[in-house]
């Protein structure tokens, strides 16, 4: 610290001292005051000082440049003039003045107690002597400061002293230690030389826990081995096998699909047995004549209903040609099922008309053996046997609807609602005769018993209703209780009416009066009349031809007509089952296959295949071969009808002849 140039004039003593100590040369020393350095105009040109105004002490002399430049030589001598050289004190003990020791030539400026002591100090030596293990330590800054005042020469002196100490027989060991310490200080091996009054060094040792080893072994994951040998041949063969397996799978799928389709295509026969209450004699009579109902829908399912004489129970059965021994679907109902119709697009919906006047809709997809919808057996039903039911086109909102015709003279429209069937009266079949006097004097309108219904294939509003009185009424669903046309068709109950599949103006009817008649719309005389010599149970147009139809009679015969071949008699008359035991009641063409299904009154169903000459297709004229089959059929029928449109005597004559011969 004293070496630094002090801010003010350095104390002369110190200067003197340091000069004497450091050099011991009495030579003039140039001292330049720091003030001089900082004088403005001096050589000082530190940039950070620029712009700063210098603070000048008030008592500073104003010196001219010349004076400042002038060198003032000052000689420093070892002798401190301030120290009294002959300082004496009076000693009361000796009663005399004694001279004091001369004051030392230095002044203690600062004294700091250090935590460490110099390795060469006597203190350190003492300490080393007492505690030889504690090694002395290096010099600290503080200590340095303290010894700074000692000149290097003194170090040399100390060395000499040390030598002397060596001579003083210091313990060899200790000496070596101290040697080592001094060496060690330079080597960086520093040992602590503690000031024992001002130093503390503490440490604690925690107990050491012994380490332990714990191990568990889990079950190794299960392993397996595999050995294979693979070559190109093996790869190829495997691919080949796999491919074949796939092909087989596909084949199987295709086959199963096809079979399911085939099954669907197979016509289903539906038979239901019904009976009649023996007390109702008239109905018994009527029920003896078998009503048939055939329907072909888009899936070409043909259904056939047979019913027996007892009305106490009935069954609805769906058969497939694949398995004639047992029905695919069987459903019991507690009243005789008289007729049914399968929906044309949703073939799982079957509507059944019953002997007791109720109607029910069955869903063949449902596993339950109950009707999905059923008319209320008390309020919401027909008053007589339901002779025919017929699905109508779906309503706009997607609800299914169907029509039924009953012996109570009503034609009703039914809509399949969410949970119920809603009934709407379409027409009440009143007879065109005056009301007769009732038993109580009131007037009664006579009502015809509806037995058959057929909808116009192109206009869903128009339909024909056949009655037990033998009349056929042309009606419209738009006008209740108004007949568009009345045909006095038969003398006995009409059993079936059907529109021609190719010409919507032509329809066929049959009845219990042994006759089958073909009509043209709006003409009250039939175009053709055929007498079959027995009550005709059912008649149907063939789906594949406009001129072919088939009829079944009570004497177990089936008559197939092709007007294009023979306008006067059937081209095939066949005994189907044993005479006298059965009465044929129902007939249906298969939509695709040349097969006719015949039902009889004992509940048997017979399938008959048509021979090729019965299903000759219309041949197009040679010039334009591309004509549509349907147009060809229409043309064929049209050509045929042209012959008979003009009322000719021939048909009547033939009819008369036939009836006469059969009589």
């Amino acid at each position: 610290m004293p070496q630094k140039p002090p801010p003010r004039k350095p104390p002369p003593v110190t200067t003197q001292k340091s000069a004497s100590r450091l050099r011991s040369i009495k030579s003039p020393v140039k001292v330049k005051s720091s003030y001089q350095l900082r004088e403005p105009g001096g050589e000082e040109s530190d940039p950070w000082l620029k712009g700063k105004s210098l603070l000048k002490p008030d008592d500073q002399l104003d010196l001219s440049e010349k004076e400042l430049q002038e060198e003032i030589t000052r000689s420093l001598v070892v002798k401190n003039p301030l120290i009294h050289s002959d300082w004496v004190e009076y000693s009361y003990k000796d009663r005399a003045f004694i001279s004091c020791e001369p004051q030392p030539n230095f002044i203690t400026v600062q004294e700091l107690e250090s935590k460490v002591i110099h390795v060469e100090s006597p203190e350190a030596a003492d300490q080393l002597h007492e505690t030889p293990q504690v090694a002395p330590v290096a010099k600290s800054e503080d200590f340095k400061n303290e010894i700074e005042e000692e000149p290097i020469k003194e170090d040399e002196e100390a060395d000499e002293e040390k030598d002397e100490e060596d001579d003083d027989k210091f313990n060899e060991k200790r000496e070596a230690d101290s040697e080592m310490q001094s060496n060690g200080a330079s080597e960086g091996q520093k040992k602590k030389l503690t000031n024992q009054f001002n130093f503390s060094d503490r440490a604690a040792l925690t107990s050491v826990y012994p380490t332990r080893e714990i191990g568990t072994q889990t079950i190794p994951p299960p392993r397996n081995t595999l050995n294979e040998y693979v070559t190109q041949w093996i790869i190829y063969d495997t691919y080949q096998q796999d491919y074949e397996a796939q092909q087989r799978e596909k084949e199987k799928e295709r086959v199963s699909k096809m079979t399911s389709q085939v099954k669907k295509e197979e016509p289903r026969k539906k038979s239901s047995k019904g009976g009649m209450d023996p007390t109702m004699v008239r109905l018994l009579q009527a029920a003896k004549i078998i009503e048939r109902m055939v329907n072909q829908n888009l899936y070409d399912e043909i259904s056939q209903v047979n019913f027996e004489m007892k009305a106490t129970e009935g069954y609805v059965c769906l058969f497939t040609l694949k398995n004639p021994s047992f029905p695919e679907y069987i459903n019991y109902c507690d009243s005789g099922a008289m007729c049914l119709d399968i929906h044309s697009s949703r073939s799982n919906f079957i509507v059944v008309g019953r002997y007791d006047g109720s109607v029910a809709v069955y869903n063949a997809h449902l596993p339950i053996k109950e009707a999905q919808f059923e008319s209320n057996s008390v309020t919401n039903k027909h008053g007589g046997i339901v002779w025919q039911v017929c699905w109508g086109p779906d309503l706009i909102d997607g609800d299914l609807n169907f029509f039924s015709v009953s012996a109570d003279g009503k034609v009703c429209s039914w809509i399949v609602m969410q949970n119920e069937l809603s009934q709407t009266l379409v027409i009440h079949l009143l007879l065109n005769i005056d009301p007769i006097a009732g038993p109580n004097g009131n007037q009664m309108n006579l009502v015809g018993c509806g037995t058959a219904i057929s909808f116009h294939p192109e206009n869903p509003e128009i339909f024909l209703v056949g009655t037990e009185e033998g009349n056929i009424y042309k009606c419209s669903t738009a006008y209740a209780s108004l007949y568009l046309f009345t045909y006095e068709a038969h003398h006995m109950p009409v059993y079936r009416i059907e529109y021609n599949k190719y010409s919507p103006d032509i329809f066929i009817s049959c009845g219990a009066d042994w006759r089958v008649k073909i009509w043209e719309d709006g003409r009250d005389e039939p175009l053709f009349v055929f007498d079959l010599g027995c009550s005709v149970g059912d008649v149907k147009w063939a789906p594949y031809s406009s001129t072919v139809f088939a009829a079944v009679t009570e004497d177990c015969r089936i008559h197939v007509f092709d007007l294009n071949v023979n306008k006067y008699r059937g081209i095939c008359v066949q005994n189907v089952v044993a005479k006298n035991r059965f009465k044929l009641s129902r007939l249906a063409f298969n939509w695709y296959l040349p097969v006719i299904i015949i039902g009889d009154d004992k509940g048997f169903i017979t399938t008959v295949k048509l021979s090729p000459n019965l299903r000759v297709k219309a041949k197009p004229p040679k010039k334009n071969i591309q004509m549509d089959q349907r147009i060809l059929e229409q043309l064929k029928l049209e050509k045929l009808l042209a012959l008979v449109r003009e009322p000719t005597a021939s048909s009547n004559v033939i009819d008369a002849e036939q009836s006469e011969t059969s009589k």
Binding site: P221, P222, Q232, I235, Y239, Q240, D242
Partner: protein, 106 residues
């Protein structure tokens, strides 16, 4: 021998060439299996001339997705006997001429 076989095979291959991935044997779960098959297909399509790179790619991807220590063999003809951890084996053919074995064993 291998050449002859390949030649013969190519003759037959002219009729039908099957290149779809065909799993011969696998006990992986369905999810893992489909993933592994997809990986093998991707790798073999990427390195269709370098079985080693394909195997490396499959192994690294399997390691990343299903934990370490997978082993993969890709080759056209070889025999092997391996020990594998259950539910980690896939032995499949791909491309009509490459057999791939993927298994895990640590």
């Amino acid at each position: 021998m291998g050449d002859a076989g390949e030649g013969k095979k190519e003759d037959e291959n002219k009729k039908v060439i099957h290149t779809y991935p065909l799993v011969v044997k696998s006990d992986m779960s369905d999810e893992m299996k489909s993933e592994a098959i997809e990986m093998c297909v991707t790798a073999c399509e990427k390195f269709n001339a370098n079985n080693e790179a394909a195997a490396k790619m499959i192994k690294e991807m399997m390691d990343k997705k299903c934990g370490p220590s997978w082993q993969v063999v890709v080759g056209e003809g070889y025999g092997f006997e391996i020990t594998f951890e259950c539910k980690t084996l896939l032995y499949m053919f791909f491309g009509g001429n490459v057999a791939i074995v993927v298994w895990k064993c640590s």
